[in-house]
Symmetry: C2
Subunit: 203 residues, 2 copies
């Protein structure tokens, strides 16, 4: 009787809300403690609901994490598209790119937990697949950015693919290095790194 997504159904509404609550609690815990160190019980406690209830809303712990990763990815993209238009040059875009990474990903989101999975070998899981996907997305993103800069005549690069990988490496490494840094120092470090990168590839 209702239009899609606009049901007045009281039960469904409650359900959505608790699912949200679980997702947000899990997110906060994964951020602070990492994936492995966060137990389902922790999440249940934080939400005030039961372990079983979490398994009602999510298939498994991995499934919950995957759900959060997807959310995160989507939020990042939206934010980037909002920011991108304000940058005139590709050079500015690169600095803005670094800036958004620091502001969005440094302390808040799932970067630590994602990193944890990155160095995971146990049983192959859906997450492995998802991380490889993310990685390739990042490389593509970097390549496009560098190619734009070349086409614009802002800088040179004799090896776009390689330089995209180097940029990605820098970003990964920086996120690990700067975890214990204060935000302003992290920002400076990232900006400096982009500067080094930009001067470095144009030779």
């Amino acid at each position: 009787m209702d239009v899609k997504g606009a049901s007045t159904n009281k039960k469904q509404l409650q359900s959505k809300q608790t699912k949200r609550k679980v997702a947000e609690a899990a997110r906060a815990l994964f951020v602070n403690k990492g994936y492995g160190a966060t137990s389902i019980e922790d999440i249940a406690e934080a939400t005030g609901s039961s372990k079983g209830n979490i398994y009602y809303h999510f298939k498994s712990k991995e499934g919950l994490f995957l759900y959060l990763i997807d959310e995160w990815d989507h939020e990042w993209e939206v934010k980037w598209q909002q920011n991108e238009s304000q940058y005139k040059t590709v050079t500015d875009k690169l600095y803005g790119f670094a800036r958004q990474i620091v502001l969005d990903d440094l302390h808040h989101p799932l970067s630590k937990a994602a990193n944890e999975f990155f160095n995971y070998n146990e049983k192959p899981s859906d997450i492995e697949e998802r991380i490889i996907e993310m990685m390739q997305g990042h490389l593509k993103f970097n390549q496009d950015l560098i190619q734009q800069g070349i086409d614009n005549g802002e800088f040179k690069s004799d090896n776009v693919e390689c330089h995209a990988a180097i940029l990605e490496s820098m970003v990964i490494g920086l996120s690990q290095m700067s975890r214990q840094l204060k935000l302003e120092n992290a920002l400076m470090l990232y900006q400096q790194a982009i500067k080094v990168f930009l001067y470095g590839i144009s030779n």
Copy 2:
């Protein structure tokens, strides 16, 4: 009755040998499966001895890992000092530095397991401390190298400390990025990265 370290004591010899065997088996397992995914039982099986025996030779799982980290560190330093003399310029040293990292650390040693610990938050352990120590050692190493290059007039740097951190970030990121790469491709990527870095800081 014996001079230190040269005892003919049959029992002590056996003990040293089994300790060695355990260390090497553990090392291989930590490398392949990571720290968390390697159980004491795995190590016991691989050595053909018992779980209890491992706890006779090592205080704990962490203690065993710490022991390996120290070994690794020491081996690296020895090898570096062997290599260092063959490089005339600091620039060459940097390329050689990258080369040794790839050849020694890419697939073989405990880099994966160390990385795993890097993104660990559970209970604070001795390993945390040791990793911070290692990190500071690396930064110092990088700083010295860059300073040497400046003093030699090979390149410039307006911010040695910052650039040392960026170099370290690059190395950390590269080791993660290139885990699934073939050795020759990894070598190329590292060399390119050093090139970018060198051109980048001199501006």
